[in-house]
Amino acid sequence: MPLVKEGHLVEDRFVRVLDDAPVPEGVSVILPAARLLADARELVMRQAPTGVIWPNDRKVAELVPYLDWLALVALVFPNFRDGRAYSQARLLRERYHFRGELRATGQVLRDQLLFLQRGGFDAFEVTKDADAAAFAEAVGRYSVFYQPTGDGRASTLTARRARGPSMTFKGRREYLADSRSR
């Protein structure tokens, strides 16, 4: 499965550890949620980076105690139409200020990549090779964004404020006067 970070294909340095398997020393690992919660006290001592894969039907607030030492949180799109992880991602980034790698997994297709990036994901297990190769093009498709998210892109809310009123003051006066007439 191709992994895209910073706009291009990279080697995945993280290893998935299955439920009861031993956690290898000195290796970056991604653990299932239950494992993290059960073994957190030991895991925090690990020298190598630790990550978790978090199901999309569980509150990410549960992760808050671990976010300052978790290197990675992987969220899940069981199919691309199930959009719950978009909310989880934004909460992790914007509410809980998670700074580690936020990875999209599951069914991750080209036409979701920009939405994912806007939501705070910075790593993508892209389902199709062709889509991974087209990553830069896909996220560069739009230059206008109506909504602010945590991704740093200017939204029209701020861009318009910076530009100043686009119509003459007369336009606004007409509106106000009209809503008071008769």
Partner: protein, 551 residues
Amino acid sequence: MYIYDDFDRTLLDERVRDFRDQVARRLSGELTEEEFKPLRLMNGVYLQLHAYMLRIAIPYGTLSSEQMRMLAHVARRYDRGYGHFTTRQNIQFNWIKLEELPDAMADLARAGLHGMQTSGNCVRNVTTDQWAGVAPDEIEDPRIWAELLRQHLTLHPEFSFLPRKFKIALTASAHDRAAVKVHDIGLRMHCNGAGETGFEIIVGGGLGRTPFIGKTIKPFLPKRDLLSYVEAIMRTYNQYGRRDNIYKARMKILVHDLGAEKFAHEVEEEWLSIKDGALALDPAVVADIAARFRYPEYEVLDDNPPELARAREDERFRGWLDNSVTNHKRAGYAIVTLSLKPEGGPPGDATAAQMEAIAALANRYSYGEIRVGHEQNLALPHVAQRDLPALWRALDDIGVATPNVNLVSDIIACPGLDYCSLANARSIPVAQEITRRFRDLDLARNLGRLHINISGCINACGHHHIGHIGILGVEKNGEEYYQVTIGGRADENAELGTILGPAVPYGEIADVVEDVAAAYLELRARPDELFIDTVKRVGVEPFKERVYAAR
């Protein structure tokens, strides 16, 4: 009406380019149908019985003449010369080819039109009252707020893959012409005790398989908080709406299952974390959007000018005037409704020629603006009263002056089995037959305000649950049958209709409607007691007895 700025135009162009690429990848096989379907739905492209159908958004029901001409162009160039106006202030074209869609969308984009989010599991066209901005009983123009919401919810990265579709409506009048109580979010603008204008938030309304009237979860929300509060509702729904069963995935089910109080609490908790963040609306942002709403430079005119007084002597003109023309907030002006319900015609349809003629008339008589109502009629919102006689003659010539607005033959109907792949039964021929039975204008006037809504299946796109008379098409043993309800209403006293009796076959449904009308005439207390009030007063039983006596 709202004039796009560079940002709006650029986004639209980028969306068209994006869709063109998606279509190309589908036609080449790079995208499977399963992967492509949600993408095309997000651009308003359905696959129906005979062809693809394109649903184009008419934000809050406001169109310019130029846009109407573009719709006529699309009808001629890419379709079969006509379009259908829907119950959510959109327009549908029934014969579109997928291969030609990118070009059609590029043409539409030139006029600021698009099909973005008119389908799919995202937020749909934000609708309001077709008299917004000109109704005398309005406290302010709700379309400014509809536009703010439209922008915020367009290609929203968090809310483009919801459990199911999501519909929002606003009203700013005491009399709700936007049916806010049967939407996922209904917003009622009103003044609180302290002289501030804000929103009552009503959630979890909806029709379809399991209809619900919405519940108020916040009696008064200040304007500043509109976007953040809606965001909190959307985030709650996105996370907790059911994903396992499409028939239980609408927000109305979540609100019902949690209970309004618990739902309100979840929303409130989320909202408290974001209310003072980037989504808090400052007046400069609102003023910026408001500044791009263009209003007519009305003349100073008197009510009832001599041209109008003279023309009243013509009985036909008078009949139309009394039926289709309503008071305007501005002296000397009027709001004119154009009936798209001619006798024997498919309800809500207009030909390309009609669209072009209406565009020209709007330029001449309505400051270039047209409205689309969810009753599937059009309106010209800025007509000087002195122009009414000339306008009427022109409207009559093109067949949109049938004086049946709000009467029994002003039927709201979905396309039904003649077009729609979800339907169980036809609705259009039922509507056509009913208009023939009630062609006599004296009878129609005598019956008074009487809304008939017809849906060809349980998805209720004809809004039959809230019809004074509701008709639902079902299939029984391969035959078309129709179930009748009475007593529904869509306004501030919204209520779902009650089933009248067993479903009847296609051949009998028009007879049943005639019998219901006859029963009303018999049962009403006075000639001016409306049908809906008679039903309220006497209940369904007396109607049932009379209608089913011989069946």
